[in-house]
Subunit: 236 residues, 6 copies
């Protein structure tokens, strides 16, 4: 019934390749089916002004998409002169998601900037970005710990995200672009590795949904995040 | 236990005054405690280009906040030269929420622009905006129907929104600013009048939450939205 | 002969309500007929760089208009990415007008930012803004004096403004929108309470005017400002 | 008593050289003492959208200043990314002034854009711009008439402008930079050649002025404009 | 003597992998040592307005660099709100280079947009971009020809580019970052496959060079371009 | 054969008038035929941040063109909100060219900003800008030396630039606009007075060129620069 032939609760093939960027303190290329995102972590000694002298660190993210990551070419945001609303929304989400998985006091007064650049898009880019971003962050933190710049591990647990939705009346896991553009209800679920929730965004543009459907999607999401965390572990 | 002395499941006082703007096709001033938002609906004969000749209408929203709506003055976005990420995120949410409650085919090929301008802020401005925006939209649609420009009512049901969160370890309804800035988990719930869900956004910046807590907040939200819908009905 | 039925030298009804904003150091809602402007004063401890260590304070203003303050919706300046020429011109005028009524040495090295936001427009918004802005400024200064932060009153006198013009060949006081858009000559007069002039702007777009007409308008303006100052006094 | 040794009612030396630009339909270099402005008129076959099919033409102006026209270098507006408030204010004034001297119906549905670029500044640049702009406009209209594209002369009369102010307590004509930066009251007067007024802007930043002083400045301005119109005639 | 141990006239290892992007009409990933650029070609049915009804096509290019392509993170141009001067310069060069190798009449009234995104940078990104861009363009044109949309091949010949410079007093081929940042003279040479020149840019920031040195670099460039053209042929 | 009747190796008439701007530390108006550029040098005590405490100075340039410098009016860059790609490219070239002729250590930790504003354009504006900019820079440096602020002359030699191209199949010196817009190959050559090269930019938009043609153009350029340096010497 799904265009890809997958079962309702079947994720696409996930692969995470680490160390793909020569310069970054942490990096990976995450592939969730045909969605490919390059994630890098850059460590900076300064924090945003509002954290000055608080002893707390910061993790933030920026998101971009190559113009031809999609079926038809999108205008380059650098050329249009601003990041679109969707981009802003996604990068704020990635940042919040990662910070929920970090003890910012243990991180110390430094900033880690995560760049998530979508090389190829086939639905679920924000979830793939979060899942890959966490790996890049983990690698950068490991490097700081090895160098003795951080003493106690600030990483609280794995952070991963997956989308679920109601497609053709059925709850399905890990929507690809064909499903996403036809889905009545679409949700993004960010979780810790132990199943606790960090962020839930469910939206029914042009339709509504029942509480019971929300529960079904949450159950699917728990399954998906479990598999993504396993992929993160395998990659590290 | 709440700074305001309210019970855990107690909303702030809600008032909705309609017809407050001389020029707009629909308008109201919604007050949720000390959060005051002016909502106007403007009917335009044109739609966005992508809807040309589809027979479908469009509802969109813009959000703004007066510089001194808050405790310390915020920079005026018109002067800084762009809308901030938070503003963009909120106005996209308001637009999606309203569209979920409208049959865009019955609306016909026209656009209704909702402006939500926060006159005074004390937490929950996006939820108050949605609840007030729906009233302004309802009034504008009524006007179009009275004028015979729309034949069949495109409004599917009431749309209202409320925030809930975990404050001091307890699930509470309708967070004010003091609670919002201290809450570990913060959620916004947009619903139809019949309790079905339109959008759920739960976020635990710096913390995580369990599925059971999510359920508690949803139950609170259902109560709050019920009261907001009653206020909408009273106002119309 | 005037669309509103007013006499040639008759102002619209003026009301000024103070203390309308919870957070601002000074605020008022001024209504001049159907023109409604919300004015707030925000006290800041810093001054613009060019005043550093001069002992002089600064008063500045920003002006905005809600998108649906007018008969047809105007584009939101925050969304277009810049303040239009008219906005810039008006806010510079408001700032100059207020500074002429303040002893900046007695004010001390601080800045007071006045925000004038037009909630509803029916002609004369810049004049109503100046008149209301002065009330907000007065209230903020009173607060600083009560707190002992300012010792000697820096307010030189009342500042108020009114528009006059030649409508249908006759000099009229306090143009509303219908008159303003049809007037051959349009003037804005900013004065101190004692009748001395702060700023005069007379313009005959598409026409010209004689020196004697300018005198007639000035005489009308003196009457109007007298009534506005009385309204300011009544409000305080 | 004046820094330049001029009498109170003495203009600086004025020269207007026409035809200085090879490409423009009309052009002149106006020098008012050390203030030098290059004015060009460009004829365009289109009008702004709001005039489409009205049979009316449009005259508009843009103003700029070379970065080193002044004593210390100003930042280039093209590099900062926007025109400053002062620039916007001035170019709007120039446009209004010129339009008041033109029968836009006789001009026909075309636009003439006047560019006023300050090569060197020593006070009074906006007035010199208006006076020179009129000459460039006159030349461009002459060219259109010679070519038979305009039948009846749309130019109502000469338009010229001069600044006057209260300097060291005395009313003086044609302020240079030294006077302008010290003047208590500063006025710009735009007039037709027959002495009728087009625009009056008087401003007392940091001070106030009496109606009688305004009269004195107006009398000075009439003298100055008379001399500027004579210079315009001599140049043509 | 070279940091990499290469001989003076030795290129880095070049590889070009085609078909790396699922959606683009043509694509490749070119690696010149550690400089990696992803090039895509997007075919559009419209041309820039100035070519309307001329029968001529257009080829244009955009260039970008991932924030962490370099040793220290660069600010994302989409976030800063504009493309930097270097970016603009490079993408104009790529466009000119490609157009010189295309018969725009045979291409027909369509536009091909080439996106060159630097994934990793180690010097010579503009040259690698041109060389890769040509491959992407060739593939897109092949696709149009196979589909019968273009009848006669518009590609005049191979276009490739290489940098040469004076490093430590010696002329060297294909500068990497270490050499580039220390080189006294730096040149970029764009050529057709038959050795004819399309663009030469030689620059001696902080130094000067003799005509004989220019000749030496040209000779090196001819060798390099020969090898790059061989790599292009191998990839297709 | 040339539209102007000039011989193949004949420059247009060159004139350089110094001291044309009252305020600038150095200035000249350079005319190369009908191309007229006003160049000013402004000395500033600060340098860009990256030179702080290095003892090195900086020379930078900005380029602009009056809207009606050309045959049809160009949009004012200050009004469009950004400098175009061509402007950015040219001003970067001018800056690099000048820096190559300056010992930045002898200049000391200060910045000289050169503004090149094209008053009238007839081809070759970037080359005229460089040649005139050097004169303005020389004058500003002389002034600093006379004032004892610089001890040892930082100027290495004359810097001048000329364009050459292949027009109607022939190599020609100093292209004017008619030639430039029709030329197959177009080159800009920046040289020191002793004939050594600073920058070479040759471009064959829509065509290609042979190495032997490049040699011919270089020989022409050497002749042209010789004459420009003579004009610089005559002006000083």
């Amino acid at each position: 019934m799904r265009p890809s032939g997958r079962k309702l609760d079947e994720m696409r093939v996930v692969s995470i390749e680490t160390g793909v960027m020569r310069h970054a303190e942490g990096s990976c290329l995450i592939k969730v089916g045909n969605t490919h995102v390059l994630c890098t972590a850059s460590v900076e000694d300064r924090t945003p002004p509002f954290l000055k002298n608080t002893g707390l660190g910061w993790v933030t993210a920026e998101y971009g998409m190559l113009p031809r990551a999609t079926n038809t070419r999108n205008r380059r945001e650098a050329a249009t002169g601003k990041q679109g609303g969707r981009t802003v929304e996604i990068q704020r989400l990635i940042g919040r998601a990662l910070r929920a998985g970090v003890d910012r006091s243990a991180l110390g007064e430094r900033q880690i900037v995560i760049d998530c650049d979508v090389i190829q898009a086939d639905g679920g880019t924000r979830c793939a970005s979060i899942t890959g971003a966490w790996v890049a962050l983990r690698l950068a933190v490991d490097k700081l710990m090895k160098a003795g710049q951080i003493v106690s591990d600030p990483m609280i647990g794995h952070v991963a995200a997956v989308s679920c939705g109601i497609y053709a009346g059925q709850p399905v896991l890990d929507l690809d672009y064909d499903e996403d553009s036809a889905a009545g209800v679409d949700g993004n679920f960010v979780m810790l590795g132990d199943g606790r929730l960090i962020e839930v965004q469910m939206s029914g543009e042009g339709t509504v949904f029942a509480r019971s459907q929300m529960d079904q999607l949450l159950t699917l999401a728990e399954k998906g995040v479990g598999e993504l965390v396993a992929a993160q572990k395998a990659a590290l």
